[in-house]
Amino acid sequence: MPPASRLDLLQGTLDLLILRTLQPGPMHGWAISERIQQISEDVLRVNQGSLYPALHRLEHRGWIQPEWGVSELGRRARFYRLTAAGRKQLEREAGNWARLAGAIGRVLEMA
C-alpha cells in the first residue's frame, strides 16, 4: 500500500537519521535505507544515490566506522558502526532538531 504522500528529506536531516538508525548496532547501507523507510512508515524515502556519499562523509568526519562483514546474502558488505564521537554528534543534532521542531510547532499553533 503506497502512502498518501512521500516526503523528500530535508537537507541535512539525512545525517541525523543515519546516526540515529545506527544507534542500536552496526548496519550496512541498504539496511539503513530500508530501516528509515520502514520506521517512518514509508513517509521518508532515502534517495539511494545520495545515501552513500553521506555515509562516506560521516565516515571521514569520524562519526561512524566501517568494517567489512558478510551480509545476509552471503556477500561481502560494508557495515557501519556508530563511534563515540558519532554518539555525541547524534545527541547534539537530536537536541537541535527537537528544539527546531518544538519552535516550529509553537509558531504554527500560535500564529
Binding site: 539511494q48 571521514h60 546474502l73 560494508r78
Partner: protein, 876 residues
C-alpha cells in the same frame, strides 16, 4: 578507500534491492531495471563518494596523472617537440641568468657586502686605478668609514704537498680580514701583526685550495706553501663561501702584503704597494654621504699619502689625482664587466625573448591539440565529468610537459655553465666563477618554471572551458577559429621576420669565422707547439739566463719526436707582443719614426714557423766575440724603408731600452700575422731581435716554440728535460692551432650563439606555423569534409591549407629582409672578410626559411587531406 571496495559496496546495495523487488514478485530483469532507476546515476554517486574523502584529490591526481601521461604518449611528436623547445629555452635562460648573476650582481660572500665601498683614483676614461697603500693610514681616521684596507691580486704556480698548482693570490694589509669580515673555519685570520717585513711569513688559504691541494685535511695548519720567492706557513682556512675579491678569478692563498716578493724579488724592500682600497661605511652613512666625505677630504688625503721617493713631477701628478668612491659589494673587477657585461645582458634578453615566443607558440600548439580533441572533451562532459575536471586534465598535461622541459632544462643549463667555465679558463687561465644552482638561480628557475606552467596550463584550461561551453554547437568551432587567428598571425609574421634576421646574422658570423680561419697568415702552424715555462717556486734563485737556455734548447732538441726548438718572449696568437716606436739610425732624417711589433726570438724561429728569410741571414746560436746586436726586419718594413738591399747592414733603434738603440739589420723575413687582434693588418711592420744577444730578456716569461716530427709533444720527456735543467717547470703546452682558436673566442662564441639562436628561431617559427595551421585544420574539418564530398582532390585541399600561410610568410620575410639589412649594418664592426649586405647569404637564409615554412605547413596539410569526408560530415 579503494575503487574496488566502493564498487563492491554499491553492487551489494543493488543486489539487496534486486532481491527485495524479486521477493515482491518481479522478474529478475525487471527487478534489476527498477533497482537501477531507483538508485539513479551510479557514476555520480561514485564521484560524490570520492569527493567525500578529504584526501581524494591525491588519489584523483594519481589517476589524472596516469591519464595525462597516456594522452601525451599518444602524440609523441608533439610532446617531444614541446619538451625540447622548453628544455632549450629554459636551459639557455636559466644558464645565462646564472652568468649574469655571477658576473654582474652577486655580492661578495662577506657580512653586509653593500656597506663596502671602493676608493680609487678615477681615470679620464672612467676606469678606477689602484692607490698607494700609504693612503690607508690617513683614510682610517675618516669618520664616515668604520674601517679601510688594501689588497692586491696575483696568480702564480705554488707548491703544495709536493705538487705545483696554479694559485690565485691576495696580498692583504693587516686590516682586511677585520674590515671585510672574512671568517676562518680553521685556525686564525691574518691581523695587523702579520703585516710586517720582519714578521714570519704566514698565510691563510681559501677553503677551495684547502680541498683542492690538501683534500680538506685538518692537519694542514702549520704546513708550508712554497710560492716563487718565499714559503708561507698556513695559519688558517677561510670559510667555504669566501671565493675571493676579484671578479671571475678565485683566490687560493691570502698573504700579508709585506711578505709579497716585490718586483726585485726581495721581500720587504718596498715601503708601499699599489692596492685596491676598500672601506666599510660607518653605520648610518649612506653611499652619497661617503662620496661627499671623500670629496671633502680628498686634498688632505693625497697630501698625506704621497709615496716616498716620488720625484717632483710624479708628486704633482699624484696630487692631481681625482679620488672617487664606487660600490664594492661585488668585489673588484679589472675587465670582466667592461668587456662582457653588455653582451651578457643582451644574450640574456634574447634568451628570455625566445623563451617567451616559444611559450606563445606552444600555447598555439596546445590550442590546436585541444581543438582536435574536442570530441574527447564532449564525450567526457556527456559522461558526467565536470568542466573543471576536463580543464584540469588538459592543464595537467601542459604542466607535465613544462615539468619535463624544466628537468631537461636543468641539464642544458648545467652543460652551458660547464662550457662557459671551460672556455673562460681557456681564455684567461685561472678564470672561474661559481655557477650552478645556488639559492638565487634556483629561485629564478622555480619562478620561471612556475610562470610558464601557469601560463600554459592556464591557456589549456581556458581552451577546455571554451570547448566545453561550445561543445554542442556546430557554429562554435568556427567561432573559436576566428577568435585567435588575427593576433596569432601577426605574432607569427613578426617571428618570421625575426627568424630571418637571426638566421642571416648567424650566416654572417659563420662566414666571418670561416674567413678568419682561411686567412693566410704567412706561417705554417702545423705541428708547431708553444710551451710556457714558469719558475719553480722552490728553486727561485739567481742564475745566468744565456748559457742556461742555450743548454735547455739543445737538450729539448735531442728529445725524439721534436725537430727543432726556439726560445721566444711571446706566444703567437695568445700574447700581444709589444709594439714600439722604431727608426733607422743612420742616413734617415731625424724624427722619422714608425711603429713596429718587436719580438725577441732565437735562431731557427723563421724556419720553425714556416716563414722565409728572403734576404740576408737568420740569427746565429753562437755569437763571435764583439758581434754587434742584430735585428731582422719584415719584408713590408724593408719596402717601407726603401727596399731590402737598402736596409740590410744598416742600424735601427727600437723603443727606449738601452740595449736596443743600435741593432744591425742582418736579414729580411717574409711577412706574417702573429696576432688576430687586427685581422685586416695583413702586412704588419715587424722587428725581430736576437734573443741570444740579450740574455736578460730571456728570464721574464720564457716560451719554447717546438716543431714536432708530426705527432704531439712528447710531454713526459719534455717535462723531465725542463725539470732537469733546474729552475723551471712546464706550465702549459698548446698547439698553435689551439692558440688560434683561443684568439678567436669572441668570434667563435658569436658564431655558435647566433647559429644556435637562428636554429632555435627556425624551429620556433616552424612550430608557430604548424600550430596555427593544425588549429585551422582541426577547426575546419567539417568544411574540408564538404569540399571533399563535393569532389575536391587531395592536392587542392593541401593547397587550400598551405596557401593560408603564403601571405603571412611573404609579409614576415619582407620585414625580415629589412631587419636583416639593418642588423648586418649594425654588426658590421664585428665582422671580418664578409660583406655586411651579402645578397647570397640573404638569399640562402630566405630559401632556408621558405623550406622550413613549407615543411611546417605540409604536415597539417597532409592531415587535412587525409580527412575522411564521411566522418567529417557525420560530425557536422
Amino acid at each position: 578507500m579503494r575503487e574496488e571496495d566502493l564498487n563492491d559496496e554499491l553492487a551489494s546495495h543493488l543486489e539487496f534491492q534486486v532481491r527485495k523487488h524479486m521477493a515482491e514478485g518481479m522478474s529478475e530483469s525487471e527487478a534489476r531495471r527498477r533497482a537501477g532507476i531507483e538508485f539513479g546515476g551510479l557514476d555520480l554517486a561514485r564521484e560524490q563518494c570520492r569527493d567525500a574523502d578529504p584526501w581524494h584529490w591525491l588519489d584523483a591526481s594519481r589517476r589524472n596523472l596516469r591519464h595525462a601521461l597516456r594522452a601525451l604518449g599518444r602524440s609523441k611528436l608533439f610532446s617531444l617537440v614541446a619538451i625540447a623547445i622548453l628544455a632549450v629555452g629554459i636551459g639557455a635562460t636559466v644558464g645565462t641568468f646564472g652568468l649574469v648573476d655571477a658576473l654582474l650582481f652577486r655580492p661578495l660572500a662577506v657580512p653586509r657586502p653593500y656597506e663596502l665601498v671602493r676608493i680609487a683614483s678615477l681615470q679620464k676614461d672612467g676606469r678606477l686605478r689602484q692607490l698607494p697603500s700609504t693612503i690607508l693610514d690617513p683614510l682610517k681616521s675618516s669618520t664616515w668609514l668604520s674601517g679601510a684596507c688594501g689588497f692586491n691580486t696575483g696568480y702564480e704556480g705554488g707548491e703544495t704537498n709536493g705538487t705545483i698548482t696554479p694559485i690565485g693570490i691576495l696580498g692583504f694589509t693587516g686590516d682586511c680580514f677585520r674590515t671585510l669580515g672574512i671568517l676562518t673555519q680553521l685556525g686564525r685570520p691574518l691581523g695587523p701583526d702579520d703585516d710586517h717585513a720582519s714578521a714570519p711569513a704566514v698565510a691563510v688559504i681559501t677553503a677551495d685550495l684547502w680541498r683542492r691541494a690538501y683534500g680538506g685535511r685538518a692537519d694542514v695548519l702549520g704546513q708550508r706553501v712554497q710560492m716563487p720567492g718565499s714559503a708561507f706557513t698556513i695559519v688558517g682556512i677561510t670559510e667555504d663561501r669566501f671565493a675571493g675579491l676579484l671578479l671571475g678569478f678565485p683566490a687560493g692563498i691570502i698573504v700579508p702584503l709585506h711578505q709579497e716578493p716585490s718586483e726585485t724579488g726581495m721581500v720587504g724592500q718596498q715601503v708601499w704597494w699599489s692596492v685596491n682600497v676598500i672601506g666599510r661605511r660607518a653605520p648610518g652613512v649612506s653611499a652619497k654621504q661617503a662620496a661627499a666625505g671623500l670629496a671633502a677630504q680628498s686634498g688632505w688625503l693625497l697630501e698625506q699619502s704621497v709615496p716616498p721617493r716620488f720625484g717632483a713631477a710624479r708628486r704633482q701628478q699624484y696630487l692631481a689625482s681625482h679620488l672617487a668612491t664606487a660600490p664594492a659589494a661585488n668585489g673588484v673587477d679589472y675587465f670582466i664587466r667592461n668587456r662582457f657585461g653588455q653582451p651578457l645582458i643582451a644574450v640574456f634578453g634574447i634568451c628570455a625573448a625566445i623563451l617567451a615566443i616559444a611559450c606563445v607558440n606552444l600555447a598555439g600548439l596546445m590550442l590546436a591539440r585541444a581543438t582536435r580533441r574536442r570530441r574527447e572533451v564532449a564525450v567526457r562532459l556527456a559522461l558526467g565529468a565536470s568542466r573543471a575536471h576536463v580543464a584540469g586534465i588538459l592543464a595537467l598535461e601542459s604542466a607535465l610537459l613544462v615539468a619535463a622541459g624544466a628537468a631537461l632544462g636543468v641539464v642544458v643549463a648545467l652543460a652551458l655553465d660547464r662550457v662557459v667555465r671551460a672556455e673562460g679558463a681557456q681564455m684567461f687561465g685561472n678564470f672561474d666563477v661559481r655557477l650552478g644552482f645556488d639559492s638565487r638561480v634556483t629561485l629564478f628557475f622555480a619562478a620561471l618554471v612556475l610562470a610558464i606552467m601557469l601560463a600554459l596550463a592556464g591557456a589549456s584550461a581556458w581552451q577546455a572551458r571554451r570547448l566545453s561551453q561550445l561543445g554542442s554547437l556546430h557554429q562554435g568551432e568556427r567561432r573559436v577559429a576566428r577568435g585567435h587567428s588575427a593576433a596569432q598571425r601577426l605574432l607569427i609574421a613578426a617571428q618570421i621576420a625575426l627568424t630571418l634576421a637571426l638566421v642571416t646574422g648567424a650566416g654572417l658570423f659563420g662566414a666571418s669565422l670561416r674567413a678568419f680561419y682561411n686567412l693566410d697568415l704567412g706561417v705554417n702552424t702545423r705541428h708547431v707547439w708553444d710551451v710556457m715555462l714558469a719558475s719553480h717556486p722552490a728553486r727561485y734563485s739567481h742564475f745566468e739566463p744565456g748559457p742556461y737556455y742555450r743548454d735547455l734548447v739543445r737538450q729539448v732538441e735531442t728529445i725524439p719526436g721534436i725537430r727543432s726548438a726556439v726560445l721566444a718572449d711571446f706566444v703567437p696568437f695568445y700574447t700581444t707582443g709589444s709594439t714600439l716606436p722604431a727608426a733607422v739610425v743612420e742616413g734617415a732624417e731625424p724624427g722619422v719614426e714608425f711603429e713596429a711589433a718587436v719580438d725577441t726570438v732565437t735562431d731557427g724561429f723563421f724556419r720553425l714557423m714556416g716563414m722565409r728569410v728572403v734576404e740576408g741571414r737568420d740569427f746565429r746560436r753562437e755569437q763571435p766575440n764583439g758581434a754587434e746586436p742584430e735585428a731582422i726586419a719584415s719584408q713590408s718594413l724593408a719596402e717601407h724603408l726603401g727596399g731590402a738591399s737598402a736596409l740590410l747592414g744598416r742600424h735601427i733603434r727600437v723603443g727606449t731600452a738601452a740595449a736596443y738603440q743600435r741593432l744591425r739589420v742582418v736579414g729580411i723575413a717574409s711577412d706574417t700575422q702573429l696576432s688576430l687582434a687586427n685581422p685586416n693588418e695583413t702586412h704588419p711592420f715587424a722587428v725581430y731581435i736576437n734573443s741570444w744577444q740579450h740574455p736578460e730578456s730571456q728570464a721574464g716569461y720564457p716560451v719554447l716554440l717546438l716543431k714536432t716530427a708530426g705527432g704531439e709533444v712528447p710531454s713526459a720527456m719534455l717535462r723531465q728535460t725542463v725539470d732537469r735543467a733546474g729552475r723551471e717547470y712546464v706550465e702549459r703546452t698548446r698547439s698553435l692551432d689551439e692558440e688560434k682558436d683561443g684568439a678567436l673566442i669572441e668570434n667563435r662564441v658569436m658564431a655558435y650563439l647566433s647559429g644556435a639562436f637562428g636554429a632555435l628561431a627556425l624551429v620556433l617559427a616552424a612550430t608557430g606555423l604548424f600550430g596555427l595551421l593544425s588549429y585551422q585544420v582541426a577547426s575546419r574539418t567539417g568544411e574540408i569534409g564538404i569540399r571533399m564530398a563535393l569532389g575536391a582532390r587531395r592536392g587542392q585541399i593541401q593547397w587550400l591549407i598551405v596557401r593560408q600561410i603564403g601571405g603571412l610568410v611573404a609579409g614576415g620575410a619582407a620585414a625580415g629582409v629589412a631587419l636583416a639589412i639593418f642588423e648586418s649594418k649594425a654588426i658590421a664592426g664585428l665582422l671580418f672578410g664578409v660583406r655586411a649586405g651579402d645578397q647570397w647569404l640573404l638569399a640562402g637564409s630566405l630559401v632556408l626559411l621558405a623550406a622550413t615554412a613549407l615543411l611546417a605547413a605540409w604536415l597539417p596539410a597532409r592531415h587535412a587531406a587525409s580527412v575522411d569526408p564521411l566522418m567529417a560530415l557525420r560530425h557536422e
